[in-house]
Symmetry: C2
Subunit: 356 residues, 2 copies
């Protein structure tokens, strides 16, 4: 099994800096994070430090209530985690049966399943990375729960998954939707399945918090379901105090920062349009439409390893080599949507390497 | 299986406040934390916040190097964790075989083993909670690895475990020592097994960081071993980014704060003497000698539930009901060693309830 260090995630900036002995500031397009932060965050963090002289509440009651107000859902439906990743691993610990994964997608689903000795059925998204309901229905007896990422990583497209949810309910299968990047979508209310949590007990949603709020190092995510068995089983195996005092504390404030949330969504909508337009003007690449804060690119010249190395060494830019996503190959790279001046640097660099 | 919420840990202050509807400030003697903080911690935390806009290094190279300098050990021997608890759970995931636990001790060892379907052999400490080598040797063929806590929680006594380590090595058994409270011991160099890590590959040590540095909500601990298989297997199953940016960052500084470390050890030595002397003057209780920042008390009148409730409701003091430690009963409570004026409040309250 691949160990943690060789997973080939984005966010391998520390390893790249050591490998190529680069000391300058690297522009990191490999991980998909909001480049802006909510207001007063220093203040909330210092308040969190004051709380950190005691253990966080082992039940995270206030934290869950803050999330529940934000979602307008029962707080008992919420399980907090050390980033979305703790929730992904917890899901694999409590679900019993065979897992289907819709590829290409985030590699941690597979790793978490393998660690927990869960059999995996690899299914694939259809044309333009759309969910292929027919193919899933054809395979419906071969799995007990299905993992789908929406908007999907690495393709960036958001989808209406209600039909899939209904299909899975009909066949008594559980659907796990990773909505880690949903908050970046402008009209996310239309696509997020949070509104179906009360109605569908076969639905489990995974959410990231600190990625959207530009603070992934603070580490906060959560799971949502109205399925009492899953919730109970998760608390039965949950490790204690995995969410730190800073993450616990900022939740008193950040969800109420409506202005920041609105501005972020508007920013990404505009910036995605800008980047797609610019990228489409570059020869020898094809960019896929996206609804979130990253873009999948297909190279028609060179390969992902070459482009990654070239951008890093010559331009101090780190991108995500997307060749290790199941179903993709060394023709694919993924780039984040960052601040305008940073995006401009990427586009100029790509144009220089790929030809006008 | 007991879920996380009903484990009966100390640190149940939030639950107690809700249960008894107490709004005032509660004096928490139930969790064992340094009441003092290292200097400049606000500054280091704000620096950590700046780093939190990116993911922590998935390998935690700098973090491990900072710990390795502190211990004077190869950084590859160190696995960082979200508190000592992540390490306890990781140990159970990678070790294959039957576990022996020396009771009474910290309940998470048992819970982590049960979650990972590991068979447990309950062994018991001898008189005055001393390790009983003969009883362990008699049972040596019944287990593959042994968990021991030193200084032991809840008894507080530190022990020289070299003979036990040698016995286990001779029989090819692995010894896991939880040294979570070792840093509080004044002459800890004498007792910590860190100096044997290079020589004994059957040794795995668990350490807490943020408890000693008075910031348990920051969440940092680590495991140490020269056993390459264990280290490799741990990285194979380790969940990503479990240590947050604040914890990662303060390690650049706190281990170098020699003055704080020295002062803390001196403080606890003096304060333990003071508390034991005062407690010994109270009728109807027996205090056990301790080398660390908490004290086990045996009640000769009333029981632990009554005393816990009485102290909480009448005095706003929370203690640890120690009746749920295997091998103890409702005659036992545990109290932390805190600041002098706080300790005085506890002693006065106990004297009032128990009689002079």
């Amino acid at each position: 099994m691949k160990d943690l260090v060789n997973l080939g995630h984005g966010a391998d900036i520390d390893q790249m800096i050591i490998k190529y002995n680069k000391s300058e500031n690297i522009l990191d397009f490999s991980s998909n994070i909001n480049p802006y932060k909510p207001k007063n965050i220093e203040e909330y963090v210092l308040e969190g430090l004051k709380n950190s002289i005691k253990y966080p509440d082992i039940e995270y009651l206030n934290l869950r209530k803050n999330i529940s107000s934000y979602l307008n859902l029962n707080y008992e439906y919420i399980v907090p985690g050390n980033g979305a990743s703790e929730i992904i691993y917890m899901v694999m610990k409590v679900l019993d049966g065979r897992l289907a994964i819709l590829n290409p997608t985030f590699s941690e689903y597979e790793r978490a399943a393998v660690i927990n000795n869960i059999d995996i059925l690899d299914l694939y998204l259809g044309e333009d990375f759309k969910v292929d309901i027919e193919s899933i229905e054809k395979n419906i007896d071969k799995f007990d729960f299905l993992f789908v990422c929406n908007p999907n990583n690495p393709s960036g497209n958001v989808q209406d998954l209600l039909k899939l949810l209904e299909l899975l309910q009909k066949h008594e299968k559980i659907m796990i939707v990773d909505e880690t990047f949903m908050e970046f979508v402008n009209n996310s209310d239309e696509y997020s399945l949070v509104k179906y949590v009360n109605e569908y007990s076969n639905l489990f949603i995974i959410k990231a918090v600190t990625k959207f709020f530009g603070l992934p190092g603070v580490r906060l995510g959560y799971g949502i379901t109205s399925n009492k068995d899953i919730i109970h089983n998760m608390w039965s195996i949950k490790e204690p105090w995995t969410v730190n005092s800073f993450a616990e504390n900022i939740c008193k404030y950040i969800f109420k920062d409506i202005e920041y949330i609105r501005k972020t969504k508007d920013y990404f909508e505009e910036e995605i349009n800008y980047m797609l337009k610019e990228l489409n003007n570059i020869d020898n690449i094809k960019s896929f439409n996206t609804n979130t804060n990253f873009i999948l690119i297909k190279l028609e010249k060179y390969d992902s390893h070459y482009i990654k190395e070239k951008l890093f060494i010559n331009k101090g830019i780190l991108i995500r080599d997307a060749s290790n996503f199941k179903g993709l190959d060394e023709k694919y790279i993924r780039v984040a949507v960052k601040k305008r001046e940073e995006n401009e640097r990427l586009i100029t660099a790509l144009r220089e390497i790929m030809g006008v």
